[in-house]
Every structure is written in C-alpha cells, then in structure tokens.
C-alpha cells in the first residue's frame, strides 16, 4: 500500500526551484525523508498537507489529491512542525485534546485519546503542565502526541530530534520506531542526519540537488550481494601489513578500507575459499580476527549515489 504517489512533481518559490520533475512513491511503514537543511523537506510536507500547490506534476496523498480534497486528507494526517509550536499557557493535555477535536473527534473520544497519546510518549505525569514550562525534550514529545492522538493514517514529523541531547534523541527515535511498528501508523520522518534514518526507518526518500528520489528499503539498499568481504583485524599497523602481504601472495585481492585502518576489503572472487584463506593466514601470523562479514554500504553511500 502506498500513502504518497508523486509524478513529475515540481515546486518553486518564485524563481527559485526547490525540486523539479520528481517521481516517487512512499509506502506504508516508517519512511525517512533525508536531505540537507534547506533541501526542501519542509516544502514537501507543505505540499502533502495541501498548504501550497505544486508548480507542475501530480501528487496523491492517501489516495486523494491535495488540490481538491485537502481537508479530507488533513483529517487523517498528523503533523509535527520543525519549530516550537505549542501554546505556552495551555496544558499539554488541553492542547492535545484540542488538536484531536480539530481533526474531527467528538469531545469524549478526544479527551480519552489525548490521555492515551500523552501516556504513550511518556508524559503521563506531566500532562497537566503548561507547555511553556516544559523542557525541549518534553515539548518534542507533546508535539508527537498531538500528531498521533487522533489516530491518523499518516504522520509527518519534521525534524523531531531538533534540540534534543543524545539520550533524549535515542528515546525519541525509539518512540518514532514504536509509532510505526507497534502502533501501526505510517510515518514520514524528516532528518538531515543519516544515522537517525538508518536506525528508525524501513525506507528512505532522498531530497537533494533539486530532486526527490526513492532510496528504497534501507536494509536492501545497504546490503550488497557481490560486494567485498570486510575483515577487521586485532592487529598493529605492522602485522596488518604482513597480513596483506601474505594474502596477496596467495593470490587474494586485498584492499585497505578507506576509513578504518584496521579493516581490509577482500575481493571474494579472487580465491576459491576466501574465508578459509583469511582464517588460515591470520592463524599462521598469530593475528586475531575481530569480524569478517559482507561489507554493508552505509546510508551515506546510498545518499551520495542518489544525489550524484
């Protein structure tokens, strides 16, 4: 099932194009929207919400066209803006309930669901505190709660880890993962940080260089079927050098890892039994092998490939 279908989508602010001729699909589940600051992530959210119109191309959100059915779409959408967006003098509970009612829920249902959503994001005890007195971490949680309280089909989270310290960030990422996988909501999370997307999302969509492109499923994108074998050694630079020489003597293609100086990349096609060769060589030189695995590309590689 798809939640967003875009065909030849273009958007410009005045003369400045944000993205042009982008065709992509966003499926159910947790999707990361990856791009540098200013690449157009928030603009895409604005288009999905029907707040502004595409310059050309077509867009479909939850099977509807935002140009004609924006209120219907927004009724089933939750949105958490990037910036602080909470009324300082309202309690978290009042605000979340208010937003749930705005999305069409009757008062009683909205009240119950507001409590549940706040409990879900870990603010059960703090729910009657005015938003203005909350810490950044708590505010981000309230923003998440108001986005999920009305049981949306699709939740848009714009940089939800902004301003959080590393521990709060981990908690927030876990919460988002939970929203997508345990609560069964489709989520689009925007971020400029690769590792956040790697950790929480099933798929990735990349915004860069005026284009939006599907990065596909993260696990699949990061696996390479025929890529090199990565070997991490428990060695000194000298013994590593000896190891490389010994393997090369066996006819195995060995390369240094570009960033990790104790890791080697071995071309498995140059030897009949590359794993055995590595183990035997290591044993003969008395070198420990920390890890030997198929090299996975980082999302960074995927990102650069998509934005070339």
């Amino acid at each position: 099932m798809t939640v967003v279908v875009a065909e030849h989508l273009s958007k410009a602010w005045g003369e400045r194009p944000v993205f042009t001729d982008s065709t992509f699909v966003i499926r159910e589940g947790v999707t990361g929207l990856l791009g540098a600051n200013g690449a157009g992530k928030t603009t895409l959210f604005g288009l999905l919400l029907g707040l502004h119109q595409p310059a050309s191309g077509s867009l479909e959100v939850l099977g509807l066209d935002p140009r004609t059915a924006a209120p219907l779409i927004r009724q089933r959408l939750g949105y958490s803006p990037e910036h602080e967006a909470l009324p300082a003098d309202m309690t978290a509970y009042d605000f979340v309930r208010h937003v749930a009612e705005l999305h069409g829920l009757p008062r009683r249902a909205a009240a119950g669901r507001a409590s549940d959503a706040l409990y879900e994001v870990g603010l059960g005890e703090e729910r009657s505190r005015p938003c203005g007195t909350m810490s950044t971490g708590q505010k981000q949680r309230v923003k998440l709660a108001q986005a999920i309280a009305h049981d949306p089909k699709l939740v848009l989270l714009d940089e939800p880890t902004n301003g959080l310290d590393p521990i709060q960030r981990d908690d927030m990422l876990e919460l988002i993962h939970r929203c997508g996988h345990d609560l069964g909501l489709s989520v689009i999370v925007s971020s400029h940080l690769l590792d956040e997307i790697e950790r929480t999302c099933d798929r990735v969509v990349i915004v860069a260089n005026g284009r939006i492109a599907e990065g596909g499923e993260i696990d699949a994108a990061m696996q390479t079927e025929t890529g090199p074998l990565m070997v991490e050694l428990d060695a000194t630079p000298e013994t590593t050098e000896a190891f490389v020489r010994a393997l090369t003597a066996l006819g195995v293609g060995v390369e240094r890892h570009p960033t990790d100086r104790f890791a080697l990349l071995i071309d498995p096609d140059t030897h009949a039994a590359p794993h055995d060769a590595v183990m035997a060589t290591a044993a003969s030189l008395n070198i420990g092998v920390r890890a030997m695995r198929r090299h996975t590309r980082s999302l960074e590689d995927v990102f650069f490939e998509a934005t070339e």
């Binding site: 967006a85 705005l102 999305h103 489709s186």
Partner: protein, 292 residues
C-alpha cells in the same frame, strides 16, 4: 499495516488503539476552533488575570442600562419617560466596545502566531480561510453580547416601566436591535482582526487599534464637517470608529439628529469599511508563511 475492524485490534499496555468512529470534518474543526477561541477571549479555563478585561468590558456595556433602570424604578413618578431611547444607547457603550476591541480581541489571533501554532491548525481540516472565519465568528459573538444584550435589556426595562413598545411595534424594534447590534459588532470585529493580523504581539495590536481610532476620529471629523457646515455631519463621519455606532444606530432607528444623509449611504459606507477590513484580514492570512 493499517488494518481495521475488530479482528485487527491489538491491545497495548495502556490505551493507544485504532479509532474508527465518526470524524466531523471541516464543520467540526470550525466549531471546535470557534468554541476554543470564545473560551480564550472570555478568559475561561485561564487564570483570574485573563478574566479581568473581558468581564470589565461586558460589565461596562450593561452598567448604564442597569443604572437607568434603577433610577427609573426608584423615581418612577418624578421621571417622565426617564430612560434613554434605544438609539441613544449605542453612543454610551462605545467605551465598552473600544475596551474590548483594543485589549481583548487581539487575544483571538496574536497568540497563535506568537507561539507558531498556526502550522498545527492548518494540518487539521481547517484552511486559512476557515481558520480566520472561526476566529471572526468568535470575536463577533462576544461583541454581540456587548452590542445587542444591553439594548434588549433596555427594551425589557422600558416594558416593565410601561414605556415599552406596543405589541405592534415589537417585531420592528427587535429587528432593529438585532440588526444594529450585529452590524456594529461585525464592523468592530473586522477592524480589530484586520489590525491583529499585522502583528503577533497583543500589545502592538492594542496600540494599533488606539492609533487607528484616533486617526479615524480626525479623518472622520474632517470628512464629516467638510460636506455640511450646519452642525450636522456628512457621511464621511462614519469613518470615525467612535462616531460610527451612534450615527449608524440613529439612521437605522430613523431618528437622525447628528447626521441626516439617509439610511442607504450609511449602510454603504459602514458596510464598505467593514468589507475593506475583512479583505485586509483575508489577504494577510493568505500571504502568511506557515511552513516553508
């Protein structure tokens, strides 16, 4: 991943579940925002400080009627027809209206922008236009409490003191009270929100209204006296926010004393000012940047 129906329901440690009940769409969102704004303006569910000004401006509007009734009741025999006429009342509640428009009405628009909540509102079924319409409806409702309520009370008082309208006159009188009150309320709602739409600070909106009302008085006086030199005002006087309610009421009640240019020009100018302010409000909110 989005299953529905009872078989797909899963129970989590506390509460978060599917919601398959009704959703009220745009009208539900409109009504929710309308009620919330009404509460906010009146200071309900907020601290005592937030209640002072709205209560004061409403009290000031009703006070003259109540005092008149008291005097008339006490000195019924000495005061022959001592209560003010209906159209005279609008001049006396201009203080209440001004107080409300200057200090209470900005509460409707400014805080949402100041706290940048607008983005969340616009992610609901509301659009920019329906958002503004709900805000306008809320301010209008409270202003009607000031512009219609006291005059109705006056009608009741006059009836009790045997100075009321005859049964035959009653429908026309009620119509005049409601029409005049609603028109004046809309006039000031439009002015107030148009000014508020330029700033996210309540203090600036208050200052803005005070400035506009001073300037409009000067302009209104000039325009008003330019046409007629005989002590009666020209139609331009309707630009003045402090003169407009009184003149408008006189014309509607057919008892022109300070101006004599007829009902139609009155409605055209009065309605024109209102429409212009509404246009400013809508254009401002169309242009307002929410997410980019």
């Amino acid at each position: 991943m989005t299953e529905s129906g009872p078989t797909a329901a899963r129970i989590f440690d506390r509460g978060y579940r599917r919601y398959d009940g009704e959703r009220k769409g745009v009208s539900g969102a409109f009504f929710t925002l309308y009620l919330a704004t009404l509460q906010r303006i009146l200071g309900l569910r907020r601290g005592a400080k937030a209640k002072i000004l709205p209560v004061m401006s409403i009290a000031i509007a009703y006070l003259p009627t109540i005092v008149f009734i008291g005097i008339a009741a006490l000195f019924k025999n000495k005061l022959n027809n001592g209560l003010p006429d209906y159209h005279e009342y609008y001049g006396t509640i201009i203080a209440a209206i001004s107080l409300f428009v200057a200090f209470v009405a900005p509460e409707a628009l400014c805080p949402d922008r100041r706290h940048r909540v607008l983005g969340i509102y616009l992610s609901s079924p509301l659009s920019r236009l329906s958002y503004v319409a709900a805000k306008l409806a809320a301010v209008f409702t409270v202003l009607c409490m000031v512009t219609i309520g006291p005059v109705l009370l006056l009608a009741v008082a006059r009836t009790l003191l045997d100075a009321g309208p005859s049964l035959a006159d009653l429908p026309v009188l009620l119509l005049r009270i409601v029409f005049t009150g609603a028109a004046i309320a809309l006039f000031f709602s439009a002015i107030s929100l148009a000014i508020s739409s330029f700033t996210d600070r309540k203090a600036f909106a208050s200052a803005g209204f005070i400035l506009v009302s001073i300037v409009s008085q000067v302009v209104g006086a000039i325009l008003g006296t330019a046409a007629h030199g005989n002590g009666r005002l020209g139609v331009g006087a309707l630009v003045s926010t402090s003169l407009a309610p009184g003149i408008f009421a006189e014309q509607v009640y057919g008892k022109a004393t300070i101006a004599n240019f007829g009902l139609l020009p009155t409605i055209v100018v009065f309605g024109g000012v209102t429409a212009a302010c509404l246009a400013i409000l809508v254009i401002r909110f169309r242009q307002l940047e929410v997410t980019r």
